[in-house]
């Protein structure tokens, strides 16, 4: 199965490509060429680093191509900053717009005595009906490393608690995002990625 991975020069893609190959997918990478996105069967937007880096998606025309692919029903998975980009924006780079698929914006964790970034393995409260997180049991852990996060809304697929409850995963139809790193989350992460790879429109309720 072909999976189109979008490279916007934020961090490195090795881990994501490696795990997709491990799961039997054939990842292809595009960093400016729109044709692979226009022909995509499945899209992954990884991303570690700064929200401002998503500016490249606008500059290359990838934003519009991704929006069209999503409208066509192509399954989309955003990871970490790739998930945050699905929202209207992030206070990390207020001048940079996100895709706006989800109307809210991402914000930094509130000041507290806890460490920021939130680094390490934390648990998921999976909401009923999530297809991306199907089979993830209470008490399973995934690996996070981030300072900004999305709010809990009706589109939240899983909640994690750190300083405050936040959206560990977001999901509406074919558009999915995870704040954690499934490629680094051992067996639980592999299960979630398998769910994404097997996602199809027919499975929709």
């Amino acid at each position: 199965m072909r999976v189109t991975v979008i490279d916007y020069k934020a961090g490195n893609l090795t881990s994501v490509l490696k795990v997709l190959r491990h799961l039997g997918a054939e990842p292809e990478v595009t960093d400016a060429d729109l044709a692979p996105v226009e022909a995509a069967e499945r899209l992954v937007l990884p991303g570690v680093g700064h929200f401002a880096a998503t500016e490249r998606l606008d500059a290359t025309g990838l934003t519009a191509a991704i929006r069209a692919a999503i409208a066509r029903g192509v399954p989309f998975l955003g990871i970490c900053v790739g998930m945050q980009w699905l929202y209207a924006g992030s206070s990390e780079a207020p001048e940079q717009r996100g895709l706006g698929h989800f109307a809210e914006s991402c914000t930094r964790f509130a000041e507290s005595t806890e460490k920021v970034p939130h680094v390490g393995w934390n648990s998921l409260e999976v909401r009923k009906g999530s297809r991306l997180l199907a089979g993830v049991e209470p008490g399973e852990y995934v690996y996070f490393t981030h300072s900004f996060k999305g709010p809990v809304t009706n589109d939240t697929a899983a909640i994690t608690h750190y300083i405050e409850p936040f959206a560990a995963a977001v999901e509406r139809g074919n558009v999915m995002g995870v704040q954690f790193h499934p490629e680094k989350s051992s067996a639980t992460g592999l299960k979630i990625l398998r769910n994404f790879l097997s996602w199809n429109a027919e499975g929709a309720e």
């Binding site: 490195n12 881990s15 490696k18 460490k115 970034p117 680094v119 390490g120 934390n122 992460g189």
Partner: protein, 259 residues
């Protein structure tokens, strides 16, 4: 709830895992890829691979080792040793590392931290600090001296101020090794760990001195560590990260279980 991480550390020399006390009497302890996979399978939350004799000539060997180790590893993977430039770091990331740990090179040129963080994100930069308490300092703990070259060469830098500078430059985590405790199996230096952990807003990984499960309980409670490095503990009675974490859970430490 966020859990305390147990990080398995592999010391690597010439492409092989080695065991030894303070860099002497090295004994071959297997293939890094095999060992890393075993630790991940047995519950380690993260793997650190340290090239303890990093030389310019050994770079290619290290990159091959990182590539082979990363191939089937689906937990966070940090690589340290001999990373002197942002280009060195880029090669290690390309080979499959998620984080790099920098030590001597960052002390020689602190802007290395900024440079790697800019390209790969703060989460990818671990600043390793080797420190020894300084009995002559006003505060022997907070002013513990920072050493380089495997603890042989003092730098004049003080542990808390250096950790703060590393954070300000964009380090994502601090890997703190107590030179006083390292190799003793008498416990982590909890005062040193707490002094650093309470002075920075980023996670601190404690290293040096673990001999018993109780030492880990202690460094998470008193030492305020966010994670702890486990190396020789696995050679002395504790069979795996999983059994270590099961004992920690019984003692009330929040850990990733089952794993």
């Amino acid at each position: 709830m966020i859990t305390k991480r147990i990080i398995a550390c592999l010391d690597v020399h010439g492409g092989r895992v080695v065991k030894g006390v303070q860099f002497v009497d090295l004994v071959d302890a297997g293939d890094p890829a095999t060992q890393a996979a075993r630790h991940a399978r047995e519950g380690a939350d993260e793997i650190v691979l340290l090239d303890i004799t990093a030389t310019h000539e050994g770079r290619q060997t290290l990159l091959d080792t990182v590539r082979r180790t990363a191939r089937e590893l689906f937990v966070p993977f940090c690589v340290g040793g001999g990373i002197r430039t942002a280009d060195d770091a880029a090669q290690v990331f390309e080979a499959g590392a998620d984080k790099v740990s920098v030590n001597s090179a960052a002390l020689a040129d602190p802007t290395l931290i900024d440079a790697i963080g800019r390209s790969f994100g703060a989460q990818a930069v671990v600043v390793a600090i080797d420190a020894r308490r300084d009995p002559d300092a006003a505060d022997p703990v907070r002013d513990a001296q920072v050493f380089v070259q495997g603890g042989r060469k003092p730098t004049g830098r003080r542990v808390v101020e250096w950790a703060r500078e590393a954070e300000a430059r964009g380090a994502g985590e601090i890997l703190l090794t107590s030179m006083d405790s390292d190799g003793t199996r008498a416990g982590f230096d909890c005062e040193l760990t707490a002094a650093v952990s309470e002075s920075v807003g980023i996670p601190v990984i404690a290293s040096g001195g673990a001999g018993t499960v109780g030492h880990f309980v202690d460094v998470f409670a008193r030492g305020k560590a966010d994670a702890a490095l486990a190396a020789s503990i696995f050679h002395f009675g504790v069979s795996s990260a999983r059994s270590l974490k099961e004992e920690l859970a019984k003692a009330g430490v929040s850990v990733r279980l089952p794993c």
